[in-house]
Amino acid sequence: MKKFLSISIALIMVLVILAGCGGKQQNNSSSSSNSSSSSNSSSSSEEPYTVNFAYHAPKEGNQQEVNDLINELTMRDLNMKVNLIPLSWDTYNSKFSMMLASGEPIDISFAFSFSMPSFLDGGYIVDASEYEEYTKDIYNLLGEEVKAGYIGDMLVGFPMMNSRATPSAIFVRKDIFEALGYKESDFNITTDDYSSFDKLTELFAKVKQNYPDITPFDGFRTFGLNTITYVDGLGDQFGVLENYGQSTTITNWYESEQFLQFAKLNRKWFTEGYASKDIAVDKELGQAKMKAGKTFAIFASYGPNALTDVKSQTGYDVVMIPVSEKMKSTTAVSGAMNVVLHTSKDKAKAFQFLNWAYTNAEFNDLLNWGVPGKDWIVNENGQADYPPGVTVQNVHYHSDYGFIYPNQYLMTPWAGSPEGIWDNLKNFDKDALISKAFGLNFDSAPVTAEISQLTSVIAKYENPISFGAVDPEENIKKLNEELYNAGLQKVMDEKQRQLDAWLAKQ
């Protein structure tokens, strides 16, 4: 009897475990599979195609209603259904690469330019120029800017509709700034004259003197790290066109006077105690530090709506002190793009959907603000707002990341946005300096080994030098030695070669 019992218990355990294995596989897929081949008695005789659309969302899980409403639109216009796959900023790097590597059927997604080399190498991306017939509207919308999506001969994807320049500024707390007697017009900072930056040092000294509990300057971004503002690196930092892309010779920015000046400035702030002693290692963004009331000034890239943005991120009114010109480079345009992936089962349909996404206002509104009536309403100014009783804490679905969706210019602007905000965005780059290499996307395939080496060298020195945690002159020398050892010259030569060839064709 005892033997029988023990054998049967052992058998049951085995079966339970095996059953458990089976069950887990079904729950594996992260995307909801409810909107797939379900019944459809519409007039069309074709089985509706489901587009798997990966998009950025701040939190996952509230998509169901929005997804259904989007499906109504797409069924009406395209005889297609959409399966929304949300990705958040931090999971983009880890989760998205895993999804691609495991071959999950995603049709369309957003992708950042720094991922392009590895995605292209892995063969994930479809050449959009082969499907031009389906994307005529997008070409019309983007005009010249379509060119920014080309890497070599391949059209990698379509940029989002967004402002095309990424200048930088120091944002300071308005209350303290004015209490110390400063006005915005006191500052006239330009990279043509590095002594103009000293006014900032003077300001920080006063802040430290009068407000000893607040760190004058903090946050994980500063001049030396924001290459996208000051130079055109054709996609990375190794070999750039200096002075806002106004040159046609590729040089090493880390050997330039500009980088040295920036390093020295930050070094002064660090040694004098104007910058936090942890600034080179503390990964917290300046906005979070300001929100906690711990810092006076932060460094950030900005767009036309900067003051509203920073206020909503920190809760404080701020004054913006620009510290750069505006530059329009390919990277600014192609920084984030919509791409169609090879795992798509029907690429023609995917491009059709993408074309529609760039031109349909309701879709963009749904994606960004959520269900009309429940998550947002149109207020008396014609802008989108929370319905009565709904706040940022309890709203069901609210994204507010328009710049990473296909066409935010079609969206209803959010309450509090200035009049004509879309025009502001569109015109933001009208007075920008256009980089001489605008339209060229560097094809890094011939130098990938060197670039991965260079990346690891930069990782060692970038932060300590840019934040002033170490002596600039000595360490910049070491940095450049190692960069050249890792093959910097080869990368610069290749860039120059591609640039010259491209310029000759213009």
Binding site: V14, I17, S118, G122, V281, T448, S452
Partner: protein, 302 residues
């Protein structure tokens, strides 16, 4: 013949018990070994493992051509050696101390608490360490070292010590518990006999406790040796807050692969590095095991 079968029948429940684990091992550990070939291929998801083109040893090139190769290999091997030695000594020390405690309740308390750090995520630990070492607000710089603050995250000198301390604090509990279990099984009469013969505490430990624990020590040692090519990514990446100036003393093979991951070549290169780490571990464990077999054959793992 019947006798053999009868003996087999006796063990059937045990075999049944083993089946789930065996199936798991086969599916999770043995079948994926086919993927080793991706270390020699330019892996593209579209072509799959079989369709991707062969590139010979090209994936290993980026690792061996790196100027930092000697640094990362040296760090990985030396740190692991240090960890093995320190964890064994401290683990034994703690185990002996805990088994000497008379109060049963306190004994259980200590046993559970030494295992607690082991359950913490390295991310949480990195914040705790940061609270100590932060140059602006950290506990060390603001109390004991108020007049001589140390720039912890820019100064590489202390980091080998810091990393060994943190790693020991976090993982020593595991080994200590195994040693405690070992000590508890030692026959009490041996200790009584030794006490009667006039042996002091230290002599008892040296001649009774340690030799009885030798099998456990050797097993744990061999297991650690097989992992000598691997490092705890969280420990070497998060605790130093990925500070560039500390690179020479905190970079290991795993952090290096991570920092170059963003560049192209992904899967093939990662597979190549993983293969290399596993090979090193494999060779070392065979050597270590044959050494152990020579010295005390019943303790060898295989």
């Amino acid at each position: 013949m019947n006798k053999k079968f009868a003996k087999l029948k006796e063990f059937i429940p045990l075999y049944l018990l083993m089946i789930p684990c065996a199936v798991y091992l086969i599916i999770n550990n043995y079948i994926p070994m086919v993927g080793i070939v991706s270390a020699f291929k330019k892996f593209r998801i579209m072509d799959g493992i079989l369709g991707s083109p062969w590139v010979g040893l090209q994936n290993f090139e980026y690792l061996f051509r790196s100027n930092d190769l000697t640094i990362i290999i040296r760090n990985t091997l030396l740190y692991n050696a240090a960890f093995i030695i320190v964890n064994t000594i401290v683990g034994l020390f703690l185990a002996i101390l805990i088994t000497e405690i008379k109060n049963e309740k306190m004994k259980k308390l200590y046993q559970s608490s030494i295992l607690l750090p082991f359950t913490l995520s390295m991310v949480v630990v990195s914040y705790i360490v940061f609270a100590f070492l932060s140059q602006e607000n950290g506990m060390l710089n603001n109390s004991i070292l108020k007049n001589h603050p140390v720039e912890w995250f820019s100064d590489p000198t202390w980091w080998p010590l810091i990393l060994i301390i943190v790693q020991c604090w976090k993982t020593v509990g595991y080994g200590a518990l195994i040693y405690i279990a070992g000590i508890v099984t030692i026959d009490r009469s041996l200790f009584e006999a030794a006490a009667i013969d006039g042996a002091g505490k230290w002599k008892q430990i040296k001649h009774i406790t340690l030799p009885s624990l030798l099998p456990s020590i050797i097993t744990l040692f061999l297991l650690s040796v097989s992992r000598i090519g691997y490092s705890d990514f969280g420990l070497f990446y998060l605790i130093p807050q990925n500070s560039g100036t500390l690179f020479n003393v905190t970079a290991t093979i795993d952090t290096y692969v991570y920092s170059t991951m963003m560049a192209a070549g992904g899967i093939g290169r990662s597979a190549a590095t993983g293969l290399m780490q596993a090979l090193v571990g494999f060779i070392l464990i065979i050597l270590a095991n044959s050494l152990v077999r020579k010295l005390s054959s019943k303790d060898a793992i295989f």
